[in-house]
Amino acid sequence: MSKIIQAVEDPEKAPPEKRRRIPLRQIVSLITSYASGKIGAQIKAVAFVVVYLFLAQTFVLRMPIQHALSVALGVGATVIGLAFFLEGLFLGIMPLGEQCGLRLPQKTGIWGVAVFAIVIGVTATIAEPAINFLKIQGSAVNAWDAPLLYLLLNRGANWLVYAIAAGVGLSVLLGMFRFIYGWAFKPAVYLVMPLLLLLGVFFEYSPLLRPVANLAWDTGGVTTGPVTVPLIIALGLGVSRIAGAKKVGASGLGVVTLASALPVLAVFILAFALGPKVPDVASAQEFFSAQPEIRAKAEYVAGSPQALVELAAAARQKGVISPREYNNYFPAAADTAVAPLETAPVNSRIIAALKSSLGTVLPLAVVLILTIWLVVREKIRETDITVLGIVFTITGMFLFTLGMERGISELGAQAGAALPHAYAETTQEATLVRADDSAVFTAATPRGPRQYIWIQQNKSLPQAVPFEPLNYDPRTGIYRYIPVAQAVFAEWGPTVGIIVVLIFVYILGFGATLAEPSLAALGATVEDLTTGTYKKSTLIFMVALGVGAGMSVGFARILFDLPLAWILVASYIPALLLTMISAEDFAAIAWDSAGVTTGPVTVPLVIAAGLSIGRESGITGGAFGIVAAASVFPILAVLISGILNQNNARKSITSEVVL
């Protein structure tokens, strides 16, 4: 017995705890059950949107799925990538953020926190891959239609990123100060949002600034991406816990809201600063005209005289300006060739995805690790698991990026391209057929007499198609036949088609949100903070309902060319009113959910569908505004659900008597 007591009496002398030897079979069983649980959860998250896109495209829009094998592999990679990514966040990035948040204020005081907050905010934004999606949207912008927007998305893309980074940095800083000094969350919203709405309305009435306002509102949703959001949440949780129980704003949430709002303000300010330097919105002819003042401003937009020439050459190729106009405007310029767009080979896509994943995760992880080592001067808790978490995050992001591109985004792009089919006639590739005058005949139709022409394509039977005199050349006897596909819902009229599109995007938004990784991270945090009284599944469901509604409104804006600013005013005012009657913590959850909704699953789908419809409707300035609309409706949904939850909870301490 004495031996036993000695063995346990002196823990220092006792042998270090031996690692438990686990048989190989048990190891395999442990890993299998762990991996199947994580992957199963992601299959559930992704299944809805994949099945929906497949069914909608095949049965409603009646278009076959192209590259089915590649899409299936892509979806598989997305599922595995999401599982790795989320697990990596929970094991590596979030604990690192929380450790910094917990220990930094005690070690360095308020100024240390301030510097760290700015550094982490700026690093997170610069590393954020979702910003690239804004640039992709910029490819649809014409320099003469929206010169300021063109400038910001092309030559000034870096200025845009720096402005957004400054906004996010300031948001994280203010967020941390809010926790330390116990500032309430609601006043911040009352202060910032009305200011943004006012600026938005002001921008709406300036043709030059209007497209930038749409971009600015979208940056709010896009900047807070899958790595930034969980990190900011973890950091906020850490700092808020230091503040203790009595502080009002100590729930740990609310920073994402600021990180979504202040970048919008930063872009507004940048637009104000650059506005005078760019020409007004004008026709392409005016934009490229040789007038010295306009030419100087146009060159500023393009970046250099040579870049302006290239821009003009591209416009000439599109047919926006004629070759004669081109030669008039740029007499000295040679016939500049426009480089065709090339599809990147698979290898380079893999390398790009790997680079993007490393570039997104590593800078943030390095900043956090260095802060803990050099500033806090502590060991990283559970170093082995943290490192594994970072590796998981990078692997997950790599697989997820690659998989999204080949899988869900591809499905979304196919469905998006097919969307205008629902409500509009779509023209297809023209074919030249030989015909003569005798083939033209007039037939009675319900809309009066119409001319038709008999044509025969290849070896198929002759068919009568509507005759367009302009497409017929009597000298050569060649008729240029442009097949027109009827709208899928043509029988019910265009309104039904548009309603179908809006319902389609509603369900698309709903389904894509279920798979959003940063929303899953926020949901887990909220469930933890509320000890499970507000479930992760409830939050995700409410947010998904909101995103669906927001996306429908966003698409309706494009289809009917409605002003974004007024749509936002009409939706943010009820949100502000509901915030007043909502509890502080639910308000923070609701406003934060706005920032996390639009992540790497939703944004590519929105852009694919939005660009297609925008192109069809002839809207200038791309598909901006959908993300902004999709960000505001979840606030309303979560606020309403929070208020109902609050009212229910209040009943638990009151008596209900019905006599």
């Binding site: 346990v8 499970g532 301490i653």
Partner: protein, 399 residues
């Protein structure tokens, strides 16, 4: 290190809506250290639809807080009474309050404004224990079913808190990520005569006879106000169901009459080893969040078999702040139940570390535990209380 044996730990479980009133009451009493644990209270809600033709019952979870603080033992009853009145805890659904004797090991002793406490609460001899608290640790997600069963029987209002497990998992290397760390800890406050029945139900519902399914321990407390609101819904009577139950309990002298069709659970499960007759102690190590792990590992090496950690929010209401009081509002508590015979040794081993000397000094709270239940199969290498060697030790001591 200072040892304080003359303290009582008061635990106040309140609905979140009552928390502001509790803060105000604690401020009035200038309580030097308060530790708040986030939790939820579960109750059943009766719904009636279609003019009462369709009725159904659902469980409802409401946010609550488990607030623990220490007072000198002579003020225990007075402080509890003061808080009960300030918070109207006699009303159903608002919360419960109970006290237990405690020993604190700290770097500096806790100081109280005894003059104020005497003035506001008055000194009194502590009341004897009348209730039992059953604390049951289960896997995350398993608590809801157990809570529903207890609520259906109307025995107690369960309080559930999130926790994380420590112990065997930490010796698995990187493979430990495959073992879920998330736990739920349930607290049931029940009259002493109901505790055995309650224990039996929890044992069966939680399947504590199977390995890795959980752990239960029990301790005696003196309760002043107990939340009896197990269900709510529209009522048509002048008295609440809780009032009727309380009146009948008092008339019958026990709650035996409530157990329609329920017979006490017989101890037939062989695998369960209950060391109810042994004396156990609950060691609660409290320190700044993030600093706990090495000390828990020391405790585990010293004989504890498993540990449960929970985040706490710290608040001080003392006017004169203790210089040694920690700046951080974020703490962590780790509960370890160990046989009393090794508790001194465990305390000594932790004292030998820098637990009490580091700038963010920690605190140990020791309370007595009167019964524990868990699976301790023969093939298990390390038992809940320190492995084979400690069981051998216990058996020898018994003989």
């Amino acid at each position: 290190m200072q040892r304080q044996d003359d303290l009582a730990k008061i635990t106040c479980v309140v609905d979140d809506h009552v928390l502001a009133a509790l803060n105000a009451a604690l401020q009035t009493l200038e309580i030097p250290e308060v530790y708040l644990q986030r939790a939820k209270q579960v109750m059943l809600v009766d719904h009636a639809r279609f003019l009462g033709l369709h009725t159904y019952t659902t469980p409802e979870e409401n946010r609550a807080a488990l607030c623990r603080f220490y007072v000198p033992r002579q003020f225990q009853t007075g402080v509890m009474r003061q808080i009960t009145e300030a918070l109207d805890l006699y009303l159903p659904g608002r919360g419960s309050i109970y006290a237990k004797e405690v020993t604190l090991l700290r770097r500096t002793p806790l100081e109280f404004n005894t003059k104020l406490l005497t003035e506001l609460c008055g000194e009194a001899k502590p009341e004897p224990t009348n209730y039992d608290v059953l604390a049951c640790i289960v896997q995350r997600g398993a608590a809801a079913a157990i809570a529903a069963a207890i609520l259906e029987m109307g025995l107690s209002v369960p309080l559930i808190s999130f926790a994380a497990g420590m112990g065997g998992r930490d010796r698995m290397g990187l493979l430990r990520i495959t073992v879920p760390v998330d736990k739920e800890i349930m607290y049931f406050l029940a009259p002493r005569h109901d505790a055995e029945l309650l224990k039996g139900i929890i044992e069966r519902k939680a399947r504590l006879d199977l390995p890795g399914h959980g752990f239960l321990y029990q301790y005696h407390v003196n309760a002043l106000a107990v939340n009896l609101r197990v269900r709510r819904g529209n009522r048509t009577s002048a008295a609440t169901m809780e009032q009727i139950i309380t009146a009948l309990d008092q008339l019958r002298g026990s709650s035996e009459w409530r157990r329609l069709g329920v017979t006490p659970v017989k101890k037939e499960i062989k695998e369960i080893k209950e060391y109810g007759k042994e004396a156990f102690s609950n060691f609660s190590l409290i320190i700044d969040e993030g600093l706990l792990t090495p000390y828990v590992q020391t405790a585990l090496r010293s004989g504890a078999g498993g540990a449960t950690r929970m985040p706490l929010i710290f608040q001080s209401y003392a006017k004169k702040k203790d210089e040694n009081a920690l700046a951080s509002g974020s703490k962590e508590v780790c509960d370890l139940v160990v046989p009393q015979m090794v508790s001194e040794m465990l305390a000594q081993n932790i004292k030998d570390t820098d637990f009490f000397t580091r700038p963010e000094a920690g605190m140990i709270e020791i309370t007595s535990v009167h019964g524990t239940i868990t699976y301790t199969g023969k093939d298990r290498v390390r038992g809940q209380f320190g492995g084979r060697n400690l069981f051998a030790l216990l058996r020898k001591t018994k003989n």
